[in-house]
Amino acid sequence: MEPAIQIKDLRVDYGTFTAVSNLSLSIERGEIYGLVGPNGAGKTSTLNVLATLLIPTYGSVQMAGFDLDEEPDKIRARLGYMPDLAPIISNLKVWEFLDLFANCYGLAGSTKSKRVDECLELVGMNESRNTLCGTLSRGMTQRVVLAKTLLHKPDILLLDEPASGMDPLARIDLKDALQAVSSEGATIIISSHILSELSEMATSVGILHKGKLRESGSVQQVLSSLEHVTTRLEVDLVKDRHECLTWLHEKGIQASASDKHNRRIELDIEGGPAAQAALLKRLVEANFVINGFHPVRSNLEDLMRSISNDGSES
């Protein structure tokens, strides 16, 4: 079976600046693919090309069996696109907004009403159906736009930072909604600059940096490829900070006491989530009472910097 999305040698230029360079990617049907990268990595440009809204400098894209260059209209009919900072029509009520697009996608009569209700239910916005869109919070707007994106049961969903502005509960709803859609066979590309956010819902991820795809594969594969990355950790102890520092030094781990918190230790550890989990286990086994254990610089910028350095070295 041919992949749902196949990108080959994609390049996008804005003037002399190359935003996406030689991107080749293949995504299977039913997959939830996370595209992760810092701001300016080329995620939105890639999604805009896939959404048929941006003409690439060159490269070929096949989606749902159609060539993007030759049959964009056929692709559009099978596509659901939710842009970053998803805009909304502020002077329409929530149900009117969905009704408009249900009509535009050719739904009519009771099928239309039923589908509008289903989508509102899926994103948890049924109670706000008569609210003017312009009065909704950022997170609620994201939910309504997601409902609109799902109206016509698209084969391919392109979601650009869909979770931004959503509270934790809404994020769980989003994850559930996407998994439900994916289980019906839809292929989803979801972008974010937060790797942990994507690792919860994506089946595979790709890391985009400065327009180039640095890593791509299953979530586990990509995470393990980041094992050599150094991450700064903050460990909050209930007591025995001095003992813990000594213990860490004995184990060859450079650590220091935090200036701001008298029960916190800051340390650098090499490796990804697996290495962090192993350290936590060892600390607990050594009878230290841990109150908090969190990475402070395991953000994507650091990972990107590391990946980028690797790239230049090789």
């Binding site: 048929t52 809204l53 559009r76 842009p83 029509i89 009117e96 408009l100 697009f101 009509n103 535009c104």
Partner: protein
């Protein structure tokens, strides 16, 4: 059906909410009823025939309707579509599987839906005037047909302005500018022979059908306002009704605007018009210009009253002025069309990269990103043929008889327009629209202003002034026309000196610009070939 169009329904919902629109409904009602009551009642009380009294209110009511649909409606369309674009909502619509035609119609009638309702509020008063004033359908039906086609044209203007401008404020300014251009400036060009531009407005049909029935109360002389007051329009040897001519002109422009909008719907990054569309528009303009000016060229009885000549322009003036007007107006149009159709340096660059990647030496000349040599050449050919026909007809009609001017000097006009067109093409493709504007300001207008300064200081024309003026590329056209000036030989001599400088300047600029383009192309080809082999 438009009332089933989802986009139209959306605007009906959002724009016609009573809470939001009640002010405008009441304002329109109050203004209209006050106008009708205050103008009709006193006249009838003072013993005037109700038929005349009712007819006298027609003009104010038509003005109210014009303000609502043409002015406010166009503003709503332009600002509404830009807001949709800036807010990114337009992209949602771009992705829906509705036909482009339906999307455009939805916005065209949906954005100004409140203005249509306001127009509807004035209709009972119109009905009162038509019934009491016994206005015959033969008068108001043609008027309203042209009024609605003008409305559509103006709303299309708003859509085009909104689609091509990137900022909300710009769209409002562009659409206001376009309306002033279409409604007030271009119609004035009818006085110099470009009569068809007058039919972009409702004024000719108003003069033809409404003014006669408004009667003495109007106190307006039609001929004060326009060249054609209720007359047929000359087109080569034909005479076409003003209403029909309005329809033809407005429909042609509507088709052009619809094509621009359809292109912008498909992709926002595309140029406003395609190269074939530019060539077709240019040819249509040339044919219309020639058709209208034809009676003057062949010294027909129906010659236009241009330059207040009473249709009898003197030979000395005609051989200079007629070709000059036509050369300037067609060059100006070519300038606009090439600006809209030629790729800017980045599009040009991307086109070259695409061609390299697809292992082609070059793109098809009609592709958007392809260079503009073919389309510029085609436009030049059409313009040259047109000017050739004009000069030949002037010659055959005996305009050169008895003049000392040598008709062969008209060859310089072809050289001038050709050099200018290719110069502009090179400029646009090398530097893009933004920097072209800077170029125009500095190299086109500055030498002209310095020349005027020199003339003012010397209290008369001097060789130096013409030489300096020649540095401005645009002067090449008036100078080439002035070579045929037989009644002021001294001026013709000055013009020939200015022309020499202008031609040399343009020639040098052309060589520089086109060599630069070639160098750029070669450089990019090498860069891409290097990149390609590196990628592999």
């Amino acid at each position: 059906m438009i009332w089933r169009n989802p986009i139209f329904i959306r605007f009906c919902r959002s724009e016609l909410r009573v809470k939001k629109a009640i002010f405008w409904y009441l304002l329109t009602f109050i203004v209209t009823i006050s106008t009708v009551a205050m103008m009709f009642t006193p006249q009838v009380i003072n013993g005037r025939d109700p038929v005349d009294a009712a007819r006298s209110i027609l003009l104010p009511l038509l003005i109210i309707q014009g303000v609502i649909l043409l002015f406010l409606g166009t503003g709503s369309v332009a600002s509404g579509i830009t807001r949709e674009k800036v807010d990114n909502v337009l992209n949602y619509q771009r992705l829906t599987p509705m036909r482009t035609r339906d999307k455009i119609l939805g916005y065209l009638f949906g954005l100004p839906v409140r203005q249509y309702v306001l127009f509807g509020i004035t209709l009972p008063f119109l009905l009162f005037i038509l019934i009491v004033g016994r206005v015959p359908p033969s008068a108001f039906v043609p008027y309203y047909l042209v009024f609605f086609s003008s409305t559509i044209l103006y709303h299309f203007t708003g859509l085009v302005a909104g689609m091509i401008s990137k900022r909300w404020r710009w769209s409002a300014r562009i659409s206001q500018g376009l309306i002033v251009l279409l409604y007030f400036i271009l119609p004035q060009l009818s006085h110099i022979g470009l009569v068809f531009l007058e039919f972009l407005t409702v004024r000719p049909v108003f003069m033809e059908y409404i003014l006669p029935i408004v009667g003495s109360s109007a106190e307006i002389e039609a001929s004060d306002l326009i060249i054609f007051a209720g007359e047929s329009v000359p087109f080569f040897n034909l005479h076409i009704s003003g209403t029909l001519f309005s329809f033809i002109i407005q429909s042609a422009l509507i088709v052009l605007f619809a094509a621009i909008i359809a292109r912008k719907w498909k992709s926002d990054s595309k140029q406003a018009i395609s190269k074939p569309m530019a060539a077709i528009t240019f040819t249509a303009f040339v044919v219309m210009s020639l058709g209208n000016i034809w009676p003057n060229l062949v010294r027909s009885e129906r010659a236009l009253d241009i330059f207040q000549s009473g249709g009898n322009l003197g030979s000395e003036l005609a051989v200079i002025v007629l070709p000059l007007i036509l050369a300037l107006s067609t060059t100006l149009l070519a300038f606009v069309l090439l600006t809209s159709a030629l790729p800017d340096p980045m599009q040009f660059r991307h086109g070259l990269i695409r061609a390299q990647r697809h292992l082609k030496n070059r793109l098809s000349p009609w592709e958007d990103a392809a260079g503009g040599y073919v389309v510029t050449g085609l436009i030049f050919l059409v313009q040259a043929t047109f000017l050739c026909v004009v000069y030949l007809t002037l010659f055959r009609s005996g305009y050169f008889d008895g003049l000392e001017s040598n008709p062969l000097l008209s060859v310089w006009m072809f050289v001038a327009t050709g050099l200018f067109l290719f110069y502009y093409q090179g400029l646009k493709e090398n530097f893009g629209s933004g920097q072209v504007a800077l170029f125009v300001l500095l190299t086109w207008t500055l030498p002209g202003l310095v020349a005027v300064f020199i003339i003012l200081v010397n209290q008369g024309p001097t060789t130096l002034a013409f030489l300096v003026a020649g540095l401005s590329p645009f002067t090449v056209i008036p100078f080439s026309s002035a070579l045929l000036n037989s009644f002021q030989p001294e001026e013709a001599a000055y013009a020939s000196q200015g022309l020499a400088v202008a031609v040399l300047t343009l020639l040098a600029m052309n060589i520089w610009l086109h060599l630069r383009l070639k160098k750029k192309r070669n450089q990019l080809t090498e860069e891409e070939l290097g990149r390609l082999s590196a990628d592999r």
